[in-house]
Amino acid sequence: MKIAIPCVQPSASALVDDRFGRCAYFAFYDEETQQTTFVENPAAQSNEGAGPAAAQFVVSQGAEAVAARQLGPKVTSLLQSLSVRFIELNEADLTIDRVIGLF
């Protein structure tokens, strides 16, 4: 399974970004290969609709799950309709390393 995680910097030691749609980067962690790649979030600067645009981006990158602090209502229903799992991160200030360690 490929998991998308919003983060503030493109590095494993970076913090999870509290925002989904307007996060700076996405970390994509592939459970099979155990590889993590970082990609800039193309939706971050959207005037409107950053959430759905970011959802579209992570799904187009093959994400089957999103691990994030919280999601808005539009993103929640879109991801549900695409059968993309939402993994809620209950703890603040987690690093990408820590999140990946959960899988």
């Binding site: 959207s46 005037n47 409107e48 609709g49 759905p52 579209q56 799904v59 187009s60 539009k74 695409l82």
Partner: protein, 289 residues
């Protein structure tokens, strides 16, 4: 002449100023119409007599995608500036996110196979109130669940037509609904209060109006409250102060009862009369003797 009464911060007294300016204009036998452009929570009607007549529905066009005809080329999605079309090639998925649609029509023009048609969606209402059989108040009202009141505001202003004086009671803030209201105005009156919140939001409003090249002046409401920082700022910036409305419990009481200050507290009538004269002089500088 079109005058917009606006403010950055909410609750500074736009409606107080709009409705009382309207009344002193009416008393002065001016051909005046008030337009309540705060379409997300209009309340000018509370202060004026009469029942609404001639209710109209405001609609917007919303794209509908025929998935049987769609080739999933993604052009409509690429053309949409508002992320209102959710599109995935794999898995195949295309949806209109209606909350985000601005009714611009770009997706229709983008589609090469005719998969997109439009449906008509109600988004708000316009109503007209008359005083002595003359149009007095036009109210734009957004339906619950509508994302943007901009089209309702534009239609309300256009419904007002030409009069000697059209007063637009603007929505708070400096986003699209504010822009849509001040855009057609010849002059903008910004109502503020002498508090840090009032000053902060006034500065944002003035920055926006300067970018738009809109002439403007300031009314300080609840004068006597707060501090002197606002007044210093107005002097430093060279912004015209049009009027002071004192911080007076009597004004608040009359307003809270849904009544007009100029009718119940005649002592304040000259404040609004002078304000009207100053606005007229500012909006038509050439008429100053």
């Amino acid at each position: 002449m079109i005058i917009a009464i606006a403010s950055g911060k909410g609750g500074t007294g736009k409606t107080l100023v709009s409705t009382n300016l309207f009344q002193v204009s009416l008393d002065d036998r001016v051909d005046v119409v008030l337009v309540d452009c705060d379409a997300e929570e209009p309340n000018d009607a509370v202060f004026l007599p009469g029942e609404p007549k001639g209710m109209q529905t405001v609609t917007q066009q919303m794209p509908v995608i025929d998935k049987a005809v769609c080739t999933y080329c993604g052009r409509c999605h690429d053309w949409c500036s508002y992320n209102a079309i959710f599109f995935l090639r794999e898995p195949r998925r295309i949806d209109v996110l209606e909350d985000l649609c601005h009714d611009c029509g770009a997706c229709l023009a983008a589609c090469k196979v005719g998969a997109i048609t439009e449906k008509t969606v109600p988004i708000g209402t316009l109503s007209m109130r008359y005083i002595n059989k003359r149009p007095a108040l036009i109210e734009g009202r957004t339906l619950v669940g509508t994302a943007s009141p901009v089209k309702i505001i534009k239609q309300a202003i256009s419904e007002a037509g030409k009069h000697d004086l059209v007063i637009l009671d603007a929505p708070p803030g400096i986003s699209c609904p504010f822009i849509a209201t001040v855009e057609p105005a010849d002059y903008v009156v910004l109502v503020t209060e002498p508090t840090p919140f009032g000053l902060n939001d006034l500065a944002l409003s003035i920055e926006t109006l300067e970018q738009m090249g809109k002439p403007h002046g300031v009314v300080v409401n609840r004068a006597g409250l707060g501090d002197e920082a606002l007044y210093r700022w107005l002097v430093d910036k060279g912004v015209l102060q049009l009027a002071d409305i004192p911080f007076d419990r009597a004004i608040a009481s009359v307003y809270a009862e849904g009544k007009l200050v100029v009718k119940v507290l005649p002592a304040y009538k000259p404040v609004f009369q002078t304000l009207l004269d100053r606005i007229r002089a500012q909006a038509h500088p050439s008429t100053i003797a």
